[in-house]
């Protein structure tokens, strides 16, 4: 059975070109870039090139790029450093819909005595800018807001939020793990201080991340030890993955247009056809300010895990914001923050496409999914034929 992969916000296929540039650096060119010999030195040169490739994708300079082990590490390092560099300020502003990498850290910060404000969102997942503005105080050390939401794809007005923070002397960090490679980002035109990137979300390998750190920003390293990354992140460099990520960033720049045209069209076809064919379905999140690859659709009166397992029988990979899939008992914190009703939240499915998806795959999903929903609804005590006749809520 063919795998139809529509879960690219979870992870992506490593691009063939990326694998190829990585391979020599496992077995043949395994030298340590810190070594004095030319065997290691040639790897160091390759790392410089990768750093330039990453910097180019986000309009940064190479010395502003710090390689880390993952997006979560970048988020932790950024927020911790901002707090350590301003010991007098003990307030953090974030949103209610952040990725666990930021959300979990903020919970920990509360235990450590920091004050954390989680700014809310409206029913479309848009940031409450009034509340945001009010939450910025002279006590605030750092703001951390995601660029684009991993579950809904909704894009926050991070540039505007960053300007508001900077004008008050507050450091600004953005978890841009879902945005980098999908939408244009230019740090030269931005006032943000820090930005997190993850390799495996843009067809690079797992286990590699980036922290962008604006030149001149005071930084306290998260990992302490050797002098790697100019003393900002100790630990021997993950050379194959750094080189792979460089290539992935180069490819992402090349694919940016396709991502925002062809991929977006495929996403829209999938979304619009499903909404038309499946009664009582709706899109979660702002459909205008949204990543081109993401569609989060709720199918009322069915439970997401059942949908996923039945789609799995057809080789279709997606994910759900339902309680049962997460191991917790509450549906996704993102959908709850948006006030999505329980009947809808439990039946939410996220499709996230990539440039590797084809129109045939979209047609296949459009063909297979409606009968699955009918079957599960026929088992649901909340579903009656009468409701089935209702028009789509859009």
């Amino acid at each position: 059975m063919k795998t139809i992969y529509m879960d690219n916000n979870a992870t992506t296929q490593v691009a063939r070109e990326v694998v190829e540039v990585m391979l020599p650096y496992f077995h043949d060119l395994y030298g340590n870039p810190s070594s004095m010999h030319s065997f290691g030195g040639q790897v160091g040169r390759k790392l410089r090139e990768a750093r330039e490739q990453v910097a180019r994708l986000i309009g940064a300079s190479p010395e502003e790029i710090i390689f880390t082990s993952c997006g979560t590490e970048s988020d932790n390092a950024a927020i911790r450093s901002a707090l350590m560099s301003q010991p007098g300020k003990r307030h953090v502003v974030t949103s209610r819909v952040e990725h666990p990498a930021v959300k979990g850290l903020c919970t920990q910060l509360v235990h450590e005595g920091y004050r954390v404000t989680e700014v809310g969102v409206d029913s479309e997942g848009r940031l409450d800018m009034d509340q945001y503005k009010r939450s910025l105080t002279s006590e605030t050390a750092v703001v951390s807001l995601m660029w684009a939401n991993n579950e809904t794809g909704v894009i926050f007005p991070v540039e505007e939020a960053a300007r508001m923070a900077r004008s008050r002397g507050i450091l600004f960090h953005s978890d841009a793990v879902q945005a980098v490679g999908k939408i244009p980002i230019n740090m030269q035109e931005s006032v943000m201080d820090m930005l997190s990137i993850s390799g495996h979300k843009l067809h690079g390998p797992k286990g590699i991340g980036v922290l962008y750190l604006r030149k001149g920003t005071k930084f306290y390293p998260y990992l302490i030890g050797g002098h790697q990354e100019q003393g900002r992140r100790a630990g021997t460099e993950n050379t194959p993955s750094i080189i792979g990520l460089g290539k992935a960033c180069e490819l992402a720049a090349q694919n940016m247009e396709a991502e925002n045209t062809r991929v977006k069209e495929l996403r829209d076809k999938l979304e619009e056809t499903l909404l038309a064919r499946v009664p009582r379905s709706r899109v979660n999140g702002d459909r205008v300010h949204r990543l081109p690859n993401t569609s989060n659709i709720s199918f009322e009166y069915v439970e997401g895990e059942g949908i996923l397992l039945m789609m799995d029988e057809h080789g279709i990979c997606a994910s759900s914001g339902s309680a049962c899939t997460s191991g917790s008992l509450q549906p996704s914190h993102v959908l709850r923050a948006m006030g999505v009703p329980f009947t809808m939240a439990h039946g939410s499915i996220r499709f996230s496409l990539s440039v590797y998806n084809t129109e045939e795959e979209i047609d296949y999903v459009i063909d297979r999914l409606p009968p699955i929903l009918e079957q599960l609804r026929s088992m649901s005590p909340y579903w009656t034929a009468g409701e089935g006749a209702c028009a789509s809520q859009g």
Binding site: G306, C324, T325, L329, M379, S380
Partner: protein, 276 residues
């Protein structure tokens, strides 16, 4: 991804007994859409109160649907008395086990079954027992305590997996911890001290137990037993008939005679064979 057994998957993909039942004798609904799990159960009974058919409709994850399917298959053919004794664990075992995070799905099946039976008997809707400890999922302290005892739960996480309590806002976790400690300490504590027994009472009770519980079984195999003396907690006996020559009599004394006497007379008794 959850590690579901093949049987769970099979019951999810091809659930048995799905649907409504127009002429059901017993019906019950449990759960709610807010919880993410809900089950409507229908039972059809014959004149002897034996379940001849069962149907269900479930909103919930794969294991909730598989558990409902399993439950309906299990209870068909059972009398109401037998059906009442079905446990959460039996439902999970029928499916080859469930991931522990999903045990509350099988709990929902049993709840529906008990509620349907009590509805059928016309028993008044049982008043909610105990006090609600988990506001998010409406779980009471009595339900939590029962789950701890029946399933030998050791952590708050286990309680959440079995009852959902504590899985929402988490504000009741401290209360759950207190209940857990209380119940666990009750479960492991020694049974309450029995009233003192005089030697005479002890001998009399041993004699009665031998006569009523033990001799009939031994006599079936052509053997017998005689009480020689009781010294403190030492019960001195002599075997007779087939028992006297039987290779296995030592085991019989320990595994059967001593066990019975400890259970029915005094927990510290030791049976010793003497030749008389």
């Amino acid at each position: 991804m959850w590690e579901y057994t093949d049987k769970t998957k099979e019951h999810f993909l091809h659930p048995r007994n799905v649907g409504d039942m127009e002429d059901a004798d017993a019906v019950a609904e449990v759960g709610s859409i807010a919880c993410g799990d809900a089950l409507k159960l229908y039972l059809k009974l014959d004149e002897n109160q034996r379940i001849v058919d069962a149907r269900f409709k479930t909103f919930g994850c794969a294991s909730a649907i598989a558990s409902s399917s399993a439950l309906t298959e299990m209870v068909k053919g059972m009398t109401l008395e037998d059906a009442e004794k079905v446990t959460d664990k039996q439902i999970a075992d029928f499916l080859g086990g469930l991931p522990k995070e999903k045990m509350h799905c099988s709990v929902m099946g049993r709840e529906a079954l008990l509620k349907a039976i009590s509805n059928y008997r016309g028993a008044p809707e049982p008043a909610v027992e105990g006090n609600v400890v988990c506001e998010c999922f409406g779980v009471t302290d009595v339900e939590v305590e029962r789950a701890i005892r029946e399933n030998n739960l050791a952590t708050v996480e286990d309680i959440t997996n079995y009852t959902k309590a504590g899985g929402g806002c988490g504000s009741c976790v401290d209360t759950l911890q207190e209940i857990l400690q209380q119940v666990r300490s009750e479960m492991t504590a020694a049974p309450p001290p029995r009233p003192k027994m005089t030697n005479l009472q002890k001998i009399k009770k041993i004699e009665e137990t031998l006569e009523r519980e033990i001799r009939p079984a031994l006599r079936q195999d052509g053997g017998d037993i005689e009480l020689v003396d009781v010294v403190g907690n030492r019960v001195l006996v002599a075997t007779r008939g087939a028992c006297a020559t039987c290779q296995a009599s030592a085991q019989t004394l320990e595994n059967f005679v001593e066990k019975k006497l400890r259970e029915l007379v005094w927990p510290e008794l030791v049976v010793e064979e003497v030749s008389s």
